[in-house]
Point group: C2
Chain length 420, copies 2
């Protein structure tokens, strides 16, 4: 049976998937999407020389003179102004004077250091708002102490984020800071999910003899949602050419169509044929992968916009491996990411494992830390239909093809579940 | 200055936060929430002895007799029925017969093995739908080959998921499989976000002299959304007692109120006082943590339902550390999780680092794999106000208190960003 390697299949998916048109959205809606433009700051950050602590803006020379004369007495300075955050100093500092200042507030001209309020004591004069502040004896005040100069963090015009970056909460904060309240981001893909099979009933029903509930439909819809896509639920369709064809045509309105089942070698595995009939061009069928071998991939590019079509194995774990490896890569490309592979984590195997067969195995497993070692423990797993194992796991333990006995403590590669 | 340790602060947060009332929701809406009940299966999985491959259901004895007599010739069996998935076999197998069967379909009575279609050739008789199938010569057919017995994966009544579990896509699939179309999950917390400070302007505006844009509000709203909460945007309020008090009262409608700024030692740091005025009971103020020291935490439990109130440092990185450490723990408890700490990843330091001061430092950093080693690289960071650094990072590198020089290659603890 001809199968292509995972890497070859991934290369096909990446080459076929094209970024959706970018769109401009309000900043809050950019969360979880990818930037479609480089972002330059419209301002210096900080916008002024600012205090990093609550205290007093001073001229460090006022302290060094005294230190040079080896005076043990505490420095006292007259307080000429109070500057809170949001206010602006109006009086330049001159020798013998200090300005009361709050964290983040702009320094007055000539100030070159800030002393924390904890290192001072306040000499209030009755009825006088501004008095004299006494500094702790022997205090070492150096230039630039407790302050940040204008534009130290970001200069106006500087690129602070690059196209392709994922917008996480930190990026939302940074974009708000540099004046981006609307931003161009990659498109928001829509994923349609269709489950095929005469044996399937809706999850709310009690299966009759020979029937099972449709678990794949709800699971792949949830997976797509978790990956940041919009979804279209096409429900269940029977193993009947015309019925499948009608529902597939509806699915071609989406950017990605996931069809669960009907792609194996059974007499009712009609999906590949129907897809060709409606003009979906096959790119590959069957991947050297366990579980997940029956995967079918093609593209419909006759209409106004292309639709990528994945025929997923009907067994849920096989379908999930294909989603995490291949559909995720397609989604990332559509959304404007570079579709690099998710990183492989190297981990120490907790228990012995016997691998055999000509396909790499993606075995559901759990990661944990023991001291500074990453441990991966495979979960008890009865094969491609065993969803219970998937719910116990948080990663795939990857075993290369060929027969081999792995000892506890051997290092293997793992991939964390992308959608969680 | 009195500060409590991170662990003590976390213990307070966990003790104070109580799970919200559970609610029953349609399965699709349970994604990202936590189960509030143990889940028992209403069915056996698989519901019948089933074929794991497309092929022929057989009696293995029909093959072993021949093997025992050392006949090299291929076994031939008469095909008496075809069972596709969703159909039910009607004819029990007897010696000399086979049933054509598809993956997932129920086995006929007396069948104890399935042979893959790839190991057979079909001897069709003209005009006859059921004919004779010939098996590959020397084929080794053992009992239980390529089949799964009823209830091997899950027995009816078996608990398949426990209360407190996070509902991910795999759990959605498993719940659908075992007949759960409505499920009780933990409550959906609402997080209100209020930014205080005379220096703040909305992100769409150009700051005047001494002003900066409000980056914390949008960032903490995005963070809460990413953590699975509903959000309430309370905007910006000036450093004025009555104004803060009014807006705080609005925020007490939420389950968690995050107030950014106003909790330090500045003359306009009015938040703790205002909170006490409106009946928010202080639980702690100031944590031994860099950045994030000014954190204030309390509870309002006079109304119909309690509200947890976090006074976050006004500097964005300090605020973010507090969200990731403390607000995340509170959210997890409210949602019905057990609030265990997020795992610390041990990683090898890429570059030297000089740590000093009496607080543990949470330094923005990036994780990567080099072979089987996890490497952490601290990013250039100018301190608590430096959001640019946060956008470059994906974890916190944790350095314990005390002055110490860390060499490249030393192992330190890291925490991945929770919201990404």
């Amino acid at each position: 049976m001809f199968m292509i390697a995972i890497e070859t299949a991934l290369a096909h998916v990446r080459q076929t998937a094209r970024p959706l048109p970018a769109e401009k959205v309000p900043l809050a809606d950019a969360l979880g999407r990818r930037l479609a433009e480089d972002i330059a700051s419209d301002c210096d950050v900080p916008p002024h020389d600012k205090a990093l602590v609550d205290g007093y803006a001073v001229r460090s020379a006022d302290f060094q003179h005294r230190a040079a004369r080896e005076e043990p007495a505490a420095v006292e300075l007259a307080v000429i102004e109070e500057v809170t955050a949001g206010a602006v100093p109006t009086v330049p500092l001159t020798s013998g004077h200090a300005t009361r200042i709050m964290t983040g507030a702009p320094l007055p001209p000539n100030a070159d250091a800030v002393v924390m309020v904890e290192d001072t004591s306040w000499q209030a004069e009755d009825g006088v708002r501004l008095g004299v502040v006494r500094f702790r004896a022997g205090l070492n005040v150096q230039p630039d102490m407790n302050l940040m100069r204008r534009a130290t963090s970001i200069r106006r015009g500087q690129i602070v984020l690059h196209a392709g970056s994922m917008v996480r909460p930190a990026e939302i904060g940074l974009l708000a800071e540099v004046g981006v309240s609307q931003v161009r981001v990659g498109g928001h893909p829509r994923v349609a999910v269709l489950s095929t099979g005469n044996e399937l009933v809706e999850m709310g029903l009690t299966p009759g003899s020979g029937q099972i509930r449709n678990s794949n439909g709800p699971m792949f819809l949830a997976w797509a949602k978790r990956m940041g896509a919009a979804t279209l639920d096409l429900g269940i369709v029977r193993d009947h050419r015309d019925a499948i064809q009608g529902r597939v045509k509806e699915g071609l309105a989406a950017d990605i169509l996931l069809i669960s089942g009907g792609v194996s070698a059974g007499v009712l595995d009609l999906v590949p044929h129907v897809l060709q009939q409606v003009g979906v061009r096959e790119i590959f069928h069957k991947v050297q992968l366990r579980p997940g071998r029956p995967l079918w991939f093609g593209i419909h590019d006759e209409g106004a916009k292309p639709t990528l079509v994945f025929g997923l194995p009907g067994n849920p774990v096989g379908g999930m491996v294909c989603c995490e490896l291949f559909v995720a890569a397609a989604l990332k490309r559509l959304m404007g990411g570079d579709a690099a592979e998710a990183p492989v984590i190297m981990a120490s195997l907790a228990s012995a494992y016997h691998q055999r067969g000509n396909r790499p195995t993606y075995h559901p497993a759990k990661l944990r830390m023991e001291g500074s070692t990453t441990i991966v423990e495979t979960v008890a797993w009865l094969g491609s239909s065993d969803l219970r194992a998937l719910a116990e796991a948080d990663c795939w333990a990857i075993f290369p093809p060929g027969e081999r006995h792995f000892q506890p403590g051997e290092t293997i590669g793992c991939r964390r579940f992308m959608a969680r």
